[in-house]
Assembly symmetry: C2
Homo-oligomer: 219 residues x 2
């Protein structure tokens, strides 16, 4: 039996501890205003210890960024699992709306790490595998809309860009824009409006008639 937290010379799990502490630091102090040395202090280790696990501070930023993206993808999948409905078209449309809700909720619940992940100047050059990329999740949801015939193949073209722009932009609005101090009710109301606008925009290409509660998660 090993004592995990025994203060031995060799920490044992330092890399993970540093990542966790860095995440805490970012959450507390924002995506820019934290230091590697302070992260070391939090873990109870000397400055420079981090350099055995990360060649540069930015490498730790990249790790945090990728981890955050992965968490976002997980959150989206969990949300998508909740979508119900007998009508496949309705279900596909709800999936798109729910993706948007999950995205914004994540951004609001962890704003500093969200910003870190999307702002990191050291943009991860090779775009991540679709499994780790929120963009990929959106792509498949949109493919689903094509399969059920709600989205024409022409409208499918660049649809990621449109949807992602709207939802990511809305998230920014909530984090650092005019909706910063807004309450949940106001914010959710506005979000539903955005989601309806997206849905309606595609509905217009197929002549679908939209009911008031179509986009709720379903029953």
């Amino acid at each position: 039996m090993r004592r995990v937290s025994a203060p031995t010379y060799h920490h044992g799990r330092l890399r993970q501890a540093l990542i966790d502490a860095a995440a805490d630091a970012v959450r507390e102090r924002g995506p820019e205003d934290w230091s590697l040395r302070d992260v070391g202090r939090r873990v109870g280790v000397s400055h420079n210890a981090a350099y055995r696990h990360f060649a540069h501070r930015d490498d730790l930023v990249v790790v945090l960024s990728e981890l955050t993206m992965a968490r976002l993808v997980d959150a989206l999948h969990q949300r998508l699992a909740l979508v119900k409905g007998d009508d496949p078209v309705l279900r596909a449309r709800r999936a798109l709306a729910e993706t948007g809700r999950g995205y914004v909720d994540f951004a609001i619940s962890d704003p500093h790490l969200f910003r870190l992940a999307f702002t990191s100047t050291v943009a991860t050059e090779p775009s991540p595998p679709p499994e780790r990329d929120p963009y990929g999740v959106l792509s498949r949801v949109l493919d689903g809309l094509v399969e059920v015939g709600y989205l024409t193949p022409e409208a499918r073209q660049d649809a990621e860009l449109t949807c992602w722009s709207a939802v990511h932009g809305f998230s920014i609005l909530c984090i650092e824009g005019p909706l910063r101090g807004a309450g949940d009710a106001e914010r959710n109301g506005a979000l539903e409006q955005v989601l309806v606008a997206i849905d309606r925009s595609y509905a217009a290409t197929t002549g679908t008639v939209i009911g008031p509660d179509d986009l709720r998660v379903g029953a």
Copy 2:
């Protein structure tokens, strides 16, 4: 007659010179990776000289941010002045689209300052007067759409949020997202798709039929 650039002890226009140099620094090195001391060096003045004009580094950031916003507002107004067309409805719709184009163009042409202006943690608490606020420009364009009957008062509600989300999100996409390396053609194509989606979304509430070139700036 005074020699403007004579290296006297008192600079005379140091405040403005610092602002200009800081803008250059941000453009060269990004919104985070520049220093007050370097700005002093660029102007040929000691470190600390800046402290006679800005109490903190962040104060200079705020000034840069406000200046950038003002330039953005100017750019939008210039774009709006180009919108033509006899049909007032068409003109109002084109105004909305042109606002989006102007916004994205500005973001792409000055990405680092654009990001600085929207990312500054030191968010200017009192929201700026409508004259200095891109948000205000958008508001009036949307009011115009209501006046000509294209936008119902209900749809007008929160319409800023929807439009701004889409266009700002798209700008981010172009600056640091998947559209980062895209050429003008690809980017503009995608942008037009976003603009059409916005327009179509509101058109859907009034049953307007949309032609292929409706949103061009007009003739």
